[in-house]
Symmetry: C2
Subunit: 335 residues, 2 copies
DNA sequence: TTGTAAGCGTTATCAG
DNA sequence: CTGATAACGCTTACAA
């Protein structure tokens, strides 16, 4: 049996309320009594029982995090940040890996609610009605990562995907590339699908290029998918002079395919990635990519959430964090 | 205010104990009453409050997981398994990222204890006295991953590193390689340091080669470190015909260095990795590596832990899971 | 088989 | 400033 507040009270010769007051610093307690209590607490090595505490305060000091795939390095890095700053505020993380399945996302949404989490961080590839309904009815503090959720009246944080794709495409056009293929995350209903498409289009406009929707493919975050898309391109003899993938690993998939078919990168085809995850530097050729402040995205998201939990948050908005185009060896100028 | 057991009791016209009995299936309840209660529960959408429950049962349904680095793909995959099977048993995971620092490991060990976790999964690069003391005195169920902890009278699970290194080295000797450099995890005090060294030695004995301790380097799980080690080798003009790294990413670091210095892999030097993480297949040349049943390691560990929590575990032992040498393109036979 | 009531360890209200 | 005491929502003897 471990030591309770009662033991402390008894040994210090005060009431349990007094002990409670000193540990919570909630009401004035005379100095000598306070010191006496503190001393006893140390002697006994007393630690308040968080469960009992939660029962009365209705606060669990728990935050739920639903993500589609821990083994995605991008998400891992995000988690790193979330975990770290949460601990700073004395919150713990309950991790839910949904594998991107709507079913388990729904399951976790409810699970977390019954687990009494005080708020949730949500990361999903597709946003559905089920989600919306849940968020609307639960009124639980939620912040969305990597998706603009202002339509749901939720705060969210990400990089500006429209601008990032636009910049990358522009850079390639400037380098003299005539035709660029975009392998984006997914369809219009998927995360950032629309803004990536729009950014790509914008670059075409800016550089007076004709835009053809057929040059946009859906990679669905999958290396293999990107590989296959590339293979098709090769078979159809439609290999472009440059490829932009909205994920580093899809870029790697594309390069592997090209190289496996004897096409040199970047000599014959330029390929760019997105996110600047570990592999971008590890892989050869090193990837030209969009560096994202992944850690910061996670950190901002969790801070935002905690503010919301504490009722300090004003309005719900989307936060864009700055990205960076980093040029390495997988792209080249044709000029 | 959410619905409590009282609301259910009132609406079903029974006592709260009866309700408790039906939700826990703990004592016989007559069929008609049970049905009535179940119906009311559904109507009201009642969910037992886990906090209140924990307070009386002293069970938190929480398991603490301390790991050194979430963004390590190996650990991410492990986490995947842990999270998944834990949910199966209705346990939640509290994630603690120690960055391998002894200080935060210690911090988390205690934090988890006060958070009332029912057991812990522990993954560390170095095992120290602090850890031992904690485990001895707390008598909390703990299972260690990727480290033989039988000396601490703790269960643990991993692949047999001695054999794996030995097999890899043997394969290379068979291929006609004369000198092999081993870039292992770390020093003797580090995880698997000794067994990797021993396995390497054994292979030398088996093949009648002279063993020189100088051919063993400590990579400390770092890509850069491996890169530098390789660079030194090149500068000293001591490039071996084969390199075994005990981590895929260290292998990649080594290959990158070699290639950056104009040395071809596998034509001039063979390089092998360990773990068979994503990058092993993604990278070019694809890595020859030791495939580890990472998911299974995680799954076995968490199951073991839950058994221990339930008092079903017999003795504390180390479990070896089978590994596999998978040959890809980063090594070649000299014959 | 069912109900009553005593906790579980805290915080919070209200007197004093 | 300090102390009783009533919650918090649930499980579990103990009675009935």
């Amino acid at each position: 049996m471990s030591i309770t507040i009662k033991d402390v009270a008894r040994k210090a010769n005060v009431s349990i309320s007094t002990v409670s007051r000193v540990i919570n610093d909630s009401k004035p307690v005379s100095d000598d009594i306070k010191m006496r209590v503190v001393k006893v607490i140390e002697e006994l090595g007393y630690k308040p029982n968080p469960v009992a505490r939660s029962l009365v305060t209705k606060k669990s000091r728990l935050i739920g995090v639903i993500i589609p795939d821990i083994s995605d390095p991008y998400i891992a890095e995000l988690l790193n940040a979330i975990e770290e700053v949460a601990k700073t505020y004395d919150y713990d993380i309950i991790l839910c890996n949904s594998y991107g399945s709507l079913e388990s996302e729904e399951h976790y949404l409810h699970l977390l609610q019954t687990k009494q989490v005080e708020g949730m961080l949500f990361l999903t590839y597709k946003l559905r009605t089920v989600h919306k309904n849940f968020f609307e009815s639960s009124k639980m503090p939620v912040v969305m990562i990597n998706r603009d959720a202002s339509e749901l009246n939720l705060s969210s944080v990400s990089v500006n995907n429209h601008d990032a794709v636009c910049e990358m495409a522009s850079k390639l056009f400037e380098y003299g590339h005539k035709d660029i293929v975009l392998i984006r995350n997914g369809k219009d209903s998927d995360v950032f699908g629309p803004s990536q498409m729009a950014g790509f289009k914008k670059a075409h406009e800016d550089y007076g290029k004709e835009f053809d929707e057929k040059t946009v493919y859906n990679g669905g975050f999958k290396v293999d998918k990107a590989y296959k898309i590339c293979e098709e391109l090769i078979e159809k003899n439609e290999v472009p002079s440059a490829i932009i993938a909205t994920t580093d690993s899809m870029a790697v998939g594309a390069i592997n395919c090209l190289v496996d078919h004897g096409i040199k990168v970047p000599e014959e085809v330029s390929v760019a990635g997105f996110y600047d995850t570990n592999i971008a530097e590890l892989y050869r050729p090193q990837l030209t990519t969009i560096h994202q402040p992944i850690y910061d995205i996670g950190a901002v998201a969790i801070r935002l959430l905690i503010k919301q939990i504490n009722g300090e948050a004003k309005e719900r908005t989307h936060f864009f964090l700055p990205h960076d185009l980093v040029e390495r060896d997988s792209t080249r100028s044709l000029k």
